[in-house]
Symmetry: C2
Subunit: 333 residues, 2 copies
DNA sequence: TGAAAAAGGTAAAACGTTTTATGTATAATT
DNA sequence: AATTATACATAAAACGTTTTACCTTTTTCA
């Protein structure tokens, strides 16, 4: 069954396509269409259940009321929660979100951007990876609003919303030190984005500030795309060979893998072995003992991102790029 | 900067738009375009970075290479993991997925279907809710492939992929009984879909089969959309007023809320109080003690769903609807 | 009363593709 | 040499909208 077109409505109402279009788009009064005609056409539209073909509409207007959201991995709870919040808020403003995962793969990310581009999405929300600079630059050159979140690309002058990872990390390490810890390990990934490298920098800075020597052997940089088993083997080895009394995990999935290792090897978390995870997760709340975690303000991040992109979308002139850094807080458990 | 159109390429190559189109769509040899022209045009396309406008393409062809995925809540790990798997597999076949959450709200679900419809998605993968029957029927009348998963709508003759919830639940209760449990509680939601009601039915059946009287007071039906705190209060009350020696939680988020309650109230899971959760989650693996869980075969579900929809998409004739029930297994911890 | 303005409306171009029908020149066949 | 096939290519219609420019008729007001 063919779906109805504006033409069918026009015929049924005995008016022109133009008139129907004006009515649909709320321009009827502007264009001085009589109340009687408006009523009649609206009635027919409702009764027939006609819905404008968005594809045709997009082709003509060049925009889609769709915002593209590109994340690393939608099955990671940090991203899926943000996605859900963003979706929710955008939805209320009449925008739809379409999202996709890059899996940290640069070619996939580029393909996704291309796909979004050819679908004429109105704006982009991206948790970027290194190597995407040029493509993002291109989007901005095309005058499309772009908001980066979670991770920043320092070479790029864009809108960015993220948490204060340096401060949060520094604070976490400081927390360990004040508990009397000396052999503090950092388990992180080897991905080259500011938000991750910052965590390492803060780790080093905190140690130096408190006169604790930086020991390379206590830092484990896991390859960002390797499978979990391998990661767990590396962690187990680290925990065995080095005498560690505290660990900061730089991402929640690293922390989860770490907890699995501890459980398997029977190593207990307690007074002589502390753990902090980055990005909160239900696992940490329910774990016995509870796992302290750096909690990013998800709600605020989502809110800020969506507000930023909406203001760009509605503004005719190009707005200045904003960098918004929100505080993250350490949840002690 | 306006993006390139097929016309620009045609002009640059000194051929007609038609010729370029044939080449882009791999029909050149069919339409006997000379090798020389093909090479020349392809070169220009690559050099200029031209990408066809998918909107225009969709308008003309009536399809989009997009599959719409509608879930209850993308931030629920069950759905986000399925989504990720589906996305992955679809991607490899040249399909993109756009997904959205219904939040169990019927009007939102209807709106989403309408949006997908007006975006001309090629097929639908839906984890449905009651009240959507008519809309889904409509999609099928429009000859669009529809695959339901996780939940089924019994009144509807559609494709469906899901786990054997009855058997898994029965098995779980049986497991409790064999451990000598007598006061077995079921905590579920009050949503009216087969997959949930089945769990209740299996619970009752298992009890009867083993001559344990069914006690309504041991069954808590949580309102599907209420906030977590309220749910936790209800659970706490149940745990206090009834002498319960085992609980089956009908969804993973209910189990997580339940674990929180147990932690807060200091009630210990052990020999005299057992717990099984429905749908596995990292929390259950890492919890001390480990929480047994019914694990649905995510990978197989995703694989089956995608395979089903792809075969429907590529088949010219309407294929028979299939009901595929995959076994779920109880992970004992 | 006549000119200007407002009310009420529409035809047709444009967005960027795909596809059908059709064309001409050359090669092959009788 | 006349016919037929084939290689090579294109013009134009169609998809369903929005929007610009334009057209009548009626009202207003100097």
């Amino acid at each position: 069954m063919k779906s109805l077109s504006i033409k069918d409505i026009a015929v049924k109402a005995g008016v022109s396509i133009t008139t129907v279009s004006f009515i649909i788009n709320g321009k009827a009064r502007d264009k001085s269409i009589s109340e009687a005609v408006i009523k009649k056409v609206e009635k027919i539209i409702v009764e027939s259940g006609y819905k404008p073909n968005q594809i045709a509409r997009s082709l003509r207007t060049g925009n889609s009321n769709i915002i593209g959201l590109i994340v690393e991995d939608i099955s990671n709870s940090f991203f899926s929660r943000i996605a859900r919040l963003i979706e929710d808020k955008a939805y209320k403003k009449g925008y739809k979100i379409i999202y996709s995962s890059t899996e940290n793969r640069i070619e996939k990310a580029k393909e996704l951007i291309n796909m979004f581009k050819s679908r004429k999405v109105d704006g982009y929300i991206i948790s970027p990876i290194k190597g995407l600079e040029e493509d993002i630059q291109q989007l901005m050159a095309d005058n499309k609003p772009v908001i980066l979140f979670d991770r920043n690309l320092p070479d790029l002058d864009t809108n960015y919303v993220g948490a204060d990872h340096f401060k949060a990390t520094y604070h976490s390490i400081e927390h360990f030190i004040k508990q009397g810890k000396k052999k503090i390990s950092l388990i992180t990934i080897d991905i080259d984005v500011q938000q991750i490298t910052e965590r390492l920098a803060a780790y080093k800075k905190a140690l130096t500030d408190y006169d604790i020597p930086y020991d390379e052997k206590l830092v484990l940089k896991v390859h960002f795309n390797q499978n979990e088993n391998e990661t767990m083997v590396q962690m187990a080895k680290l925990f065995q060979t080095e005498e560690i009394d505290a660990v900061l995990f730089a991402t929640n999935y690293l922390a989860i893998s770490g907890l699995k290792v501890l459980k398997q090897t029977g190593k207990k978390i307690g007074d002589d072995f502390s753990v902090i995870a980055y990005d909160d997760h239900e696992v940490f709340e329910l774990h016995t003992p509870g796992i302290s975690a750096v909690q990013q303000p998800l709600e605020e991040i989502a809110e800020t991102v969506i507000q930023l992109i909406l203001s760009q979308l509605s503004s005719k002139t190009k707005l200045d790029n904003e960098h918004i850094i929100l505080p993250a807080k350490l949840i002690e458990r």
